[in-house]
Symmetry: C2
Subunit: 333 residues, 2 copies
DNA sequence: TTGTAGGCGTTATCAC
DNA sequence: GTGATAACGCCTACAA
């Protein structure tokens, strides 16, 4: 492997000049040409570790997500890549495996790796431990969820109005018995979505019934118990708003098992994962989050912070969701 | 940020001793204790760049996949993480975005990042450019596909027998008019799956009909044209073997649009993505690849090569697939 | 077992 | 503009 020393020798200049050339400083054109040629000939690539040792920059950012197999997460990553790859940033991806302990672990792992910045989609909104990272001055941008106890830049969705639009649509189709399967009460997005549900009912003067409001863990099997509970009610709802992907999927599964046709016997509106849900018959109404854009914005904010621009901190950016309306919600009118 | 120098001062030993302590060499217990305490107190973390500069190791491996939003890819990554994270390896993930040019680009990007090893799932089986990486002695392990022109370690699936088992099952259910929608002829896995199809027909003495063999690109919209073409045949097949995920998905979509019930009017057997396909009614028969295991094995082989164990090169490991049999293939008997 | 010192490949600060 | 040179933090002979 050749170094700037070799380049300098071949080009007959000092290593200082080569370094300056590489970093885009002014150089006599004659030297510039010779250096360029030498670099080409030696196939020289500057050593990122040596550079990092001097500059304290790794040109690497860390991305910590709850789970790498989650489509929403990977779409966010795609957005991040879109911005950061052209700038030659490397992206170290860590998955917390839906596990708070691992999240803390990976977070401190990223710190030890000396990444220049971190984008985190927290597992939950509570229990976030990032003092050391903050102290070291490594910028963090949150994605999708805020956390308690810290002020960070963040890119999140307008969950309140996302949920509101869904419930409003259900109401407008003539439903009055509308249930919701929300997420765990400690999760930020879950709280917001529930707020949207309540606000819509309220705005349309529909009585809120306790038994129509259920909570379910945000796990792979979430929602199964809840939907069964709803269907078993003496006075079951005519429409159900399922507030995340697994809950929606599992609810559909239960409906099928019970031979209840979605959009006929019972109406359903879900969240996320539009592509998949549009394959069903009928397609599923869903609130869609602009996942890729979330990644793009998060990367842009992080870039700004990494270049030491601390203006408008904390910059909390809220993106709008989109409602896809299909026959999975029956018109009662 | 504290350095071993600070630790040395605080512990009243030389930096050499501290370094030796960190790297697990023998040390007088008394010193060992004091160093440990000093490290704790200063919250010392050794600087990976300084270390890397000396040792020429980054403790980082690169993973290059066709597309980060592909579930198969992320499951492979999950397997890789399972092995490499406990060993403190960082994983830099690059997506080629299904694009050969980007694959080459990212590959050389990884080289410039001085990763210790690379796991690649190639976009196609042809056109792979890795001379520089090979020359630098950075080990590469292929996943899912082999490439022309290079000998690399690899972890792949037994596509021939995977496809064979699917077609055999279809035959055993009494079908004789069996079509296949294969992938592009230059893709390794596509070739193998087609071979499996042909071999099964052959073994069961079923005539191979040209018009039942179609090729489709391995892209997001793959298969749409092909399945339509098959359904429009004068003598259409009674069963179709769709050889990857998008082709299967899109075929199902077309069936729905045409009001053909899967498992009744037409039988279908697909590939990959079992979880999703099991949600449909009827669930879809599929050949399942052990994606997570692929990642695990690839990481293990890479680890071996990175520790300079060159035995049994090239180590090409073939994993078996599993067939999930459902009513999406109608029994004609 | 320990301390000392040289060097890994860069960048940055001097003089010139 | 350029060349010489001192860091950056760590590892590793080498000598003690």
């Amino acid at each position: 492997m050749s170094t700037i020393k070799d380049v300098a020798k071949l080009a007959n200049v000092s290593i200082g000049t080569v370094s300056r050339f590489i970093n885009g400083y002014k150089i006599k054109q004659e030297n510039s040409l010779r250096i360029e040629e030498a670099i080409e000939q030696l196939n020289f690539k500057s050593n990122p570790m040596a550079r990092g040792l001097r500059t304290n920059k790794t040109l690497t950012i860390g991305v910590l997500i709850p789970r790498i197999t989650d489509v929403f997460c990977t779409q966010v990553i795609e957005g991040i890549e879109e911005i950061l790859n052209p700038l030659n940033y490397g992206i170290v991806i860590c998955s917390a495996n839906d596990n708070l302990e691992q999240q803390t672990e990976k977070l401190s792992y990223l710190r030890e790796k000396f990444v220049d910045g971190i984008i985190v989609m927290p597992v939950t909104s509570s229990e976030f431990e990032a003092d050391e990272i903050v102290n070291r001055g490594i910028p963090i941008v949150l994605v999708d969820r805020l956390v308690k106890g810290y002020e960070f830049d963040a890119v999140i969705c307008d969950n309140v109005n996302g949920a509101y639009s869904a419930v409003e649509m259900i109401i407008n189709k003539g439903h009055r018995k509308i249930a919701v399967i929300g997420g765990p009460e400690e999760i930020f997005t879950a709280q917001e979505r529930l707020t949207g549900y309540l606000r819509a009912l309220n705005d349309y003067n529909i009585e809120v019934k306790e038994e129509y409001i259920l909570h379910s863990p945000y796990t792979k099997n979430g929602g199964i118990q809840a939907i069964n509970q709803l269907l078993d009610l003496e006075d079951p709802p005519t429409a159900i708003f399922t507030t995340n992907y697994p809950i929606t999927v599992n609810s559909m599964k239960v409906l099928m098992e019970r031979n209840l046709v979605m959009g006929e016997a019972i109406s359903l509106c879900g969240y996320d994962q539009t592509e998949l849900f549009q394959m069903f018959n009928p397609p599923v109404s869903v609130v869609v989050q602009p996942s890729r854009e979330i990644g793009i914005h998060a990367a842009e904010i992080l870039l700004k912070r990494m270049s030491d621009d601390q203006s408008r901190f904390p910059h909390i950016q809220r993106l709008k969701t989109q409602l896809i309306e299909t026959e999975s919600v029956k018109s009662m009118i």
